[in-house]
């Protein structure tokens, strides 16, 4: 052992800390860059008129994105209605029967579902809904988005249920309670905060999804409330406007992105806040 060795080792240790800290901070810079540039370019076009009026025909100045805002909420709302109850019950199933072999397989399938590229989900909704009905529809978009939200709700429910102490469940059994009431009155209420967080994160995720909507909900220049007809959404509008050749539309894409970022990040942060605040 040489004496001067220690100096080099301490230096290496410092070097490692500096390197790791530096790269960590560099990696969150894009978050601020993206949010900053989108806001800076978008915020000046946002006013009540932009939010509450309809798009102008191609290339004309002015107009708003009211149809897309309404469309986003309708489509996301329907897919939440589909995926929340199913997702919670599948989560209960996975956590309650976890010692069974076939449940292990279903768990892997849920992971697989979560890993399917969103564009492929779009193809599936196209094949299953659009093709038989022979036209694009908001409903097909909702179904596509619910495939994306479903695994998120399932996993949130399963994970939080696994954290509930077995004694709580046994106490309910010892009182002579039937199984379905133990699940509905004891387990799910105890897990409600965690499930709510999962739901909110899931909603914030599908609120920003575009790819599954390209050939399902498609888009619509007009305000449409019929879920069997094509419907516009904010992310779809951003894509179409951003890739168009009109500067006016580019600016509106930034404005719409500002609105979308605010909606998505607030739902996401609210979900995290809920989890922190009311966690048992």
């Amino acid at each position: 052992m040489k004496k001067d060795n220690i100096k080099k080792r301490v230096f290496n240790d410092k070097l490692y800390r500096t390197f790791v800290s530096l790269f960590s901070f560099l990696s969150i810079i894009p978050l601020f860059l993206i949010v900053y540039f989108v806001l800076i370019r978008g915020i000046k076009y946002i006013n009540l008129k932009f939010i509450f009026s309809m798009p102008k025909p191609m290339g004309e100045v002015g107009g708003g994105i009211f149809n897309a805002i309404i469309g986003s909420f309708i489509i996301v709302g329907i897919s939440a209605l589909i995926s929340i109850p199913i997702g919670i019950l599948v989560g209960v199933f996975l956590s309650e029967y976890k010692e069974k072999k076939y449940v292990e397989i279903i768990k892997i399938l849920v992971d697989t579902l979560q890993g399917i590229p969103s564009i492929v989900i779009g193809i599936i909704a196209y094949l299953w809904i659009v093709k038989p009905l022979r036209h694009f529809s908001a409903l097909s978009g909702s179904i596509a988005l619910s495939f994306i939200m479903l695994p998120l709700v399932i996993k949130a429910t399963e994970e939080i249920l696994n954290l509930i102490p077995v004694e709580i469940k046994e106490a309910a059994y010892a009182l002579g309670a039937p199984y379905h009431r133990i699940v509905l009155k004891i387990l799910l209420p105890s897990a409600s905060v965690g499930i709510l967080t999962g739901i909110l994160i899931g909603i914030s995720r599908i609120m920003g999804e575009t790819a599954p909507l390209l050939f399902t909900a498609f888009g619509n220049q007009f305000l449409n409330l019929n879920i069997l007809k094509p419907m516009s959404t904010i992310p779809y509008l951003i894509y179409v406007y951003a890739t168009s050749p009109y500067i006016e539309w580019h600016n509106q894409a930034f404005a719409a992105s500002t609105i979308l970022i605010i909606i998505v990040l607030s739902i996401n942060l609210f979900g995290r806040f809920v989890e922190k605040k009311w966690k048992m």
């Binding site: 390197f19 960590s24 990696s27 019950l89 199933f93 196209y126 999804e209």
Partner: protein, 287 residues
């Protein structure tokens, strides 16, 4: 108890629903790909020609485009995501600050893909164009390289959070053993912690590679949409996902649609394999 029975049956049926859903997805993709499979066979994977006008379809340019962008983005992301994993689990001792930092990292994953694409198209691409002018490459701005940077930003949170989890799982006694022998924290990390968690970290890279593989919107907006085999990392290209996004609604013939769906099938199968493999490694690691 009839209600109890019914409830258990409902749970079981919903579990079954997941199996049916996944097999349904797979079978639908296979079924709709049949015309293309029949017409082109295995050559579909190796043909460079994608010509809707002549009804000739080959996926090679998009397979190469996808592999290139996904690999490049993974390589770019590794130093960053690994740093975050180590930073969060080993260096930041303050729990509160660590939590805030982690939230920032996760929020990156929360930004809608189309907004990252918008930013890439209007903010990042011009910067890349300037760089390209300086180094004497044809200044296009968009292309494989830009798409890879955008992708790497998007996948960092995934491998970072998995890496953080597995590194945190290394038992404290093992680390303290090394420290008590006089090792520095860096040496402990190098000799004890990283080898111990290597498989899990690898699985994290694998899963984020899978993400990059299937990511659609942001890539579609910045890759340049050129249906040919890219000649350099700066050339415009096309990934499998961006091709489907661009052309699916324009596909007029049955064979054209079927070829696009077959590309979807390839995406599905590969991402499924990557996912299952990654999850299996992580599961084995945690027990």
């Amino acid at each position: 108890m009839r209600k109890d029975r019914a409830f258990k049956i409902i749970l079981l049926l919903l579990g079954l629903l997941i199996i049916i859903l996944l097999s349904g997805i797979f079978l639908s993709l296979v079924f709709s790909s049949i015309p293309s499979i029949k017409e082109f066979g295995i050559n579909f994977l190796f043909s460079k020609t994608w010509s809707p006008v002549n009804n000739k379809f080959g996926a090679l340019p998009f397979i190469i485009g996808t592999l290139l962008t996904a690999t490049l983005s993974l390589l770019i992301s590794i130093p960053f995501s690994l740093s975050i994993s180590i930073f969060l689990s080993e260096i930041l001792k303050n729990k509160f600050i660590s939590k805030i930092f982690q939230t920032f990292v996760e929020l990156i994953a929360g930004i809608p893909s189309v907004i990252v694409g918008l930013w890439g198209l209007f903010i990042l691409a011009p910067v890349i164009r300037n760089i390209q002018t300086k180094i004497g490459v044809q200044p296009i701005g968009v292309g494989i390289f830009t798409a890879s940077i955008i992708l790497s930003i998007m996948i960092i949170p995934y491998s970072a959070s998995i890496g953080k989890e597995v590194i945190s799982m290394v038992p404290n006694e093992v680390k303290e053993g090394a420290i008590s022998l006089g090792a520095t924290e860096f040496e402990t990390l190098k000799i004890v912690t990283l080898p111990f968690s290597f498989k899990g970290i690898f699985a994290g890279f694998l899963l984020s590679f899978g993400r990059a593989f299937g990511e659609t919107m942001a890539v579609t907006m910045v890759i340049g949409n050129a249906n040919r085999v890219p000649v350099s990392i700066f050339s415009p290209g096309q990934t499998m996902a961006s091709l489907i996004a661009n052309e699916f609604t324009e596909a007029t013939t049955k064979l054209y649609t079927s070829s696009l769906i077959q590309i979807g099938l390839i995406l599905f199968v590969i991402s499924m394999l990557i996912n299952i493999l990654g999850r299996l490694i992580i599961r084995r690691f945690t027990f």
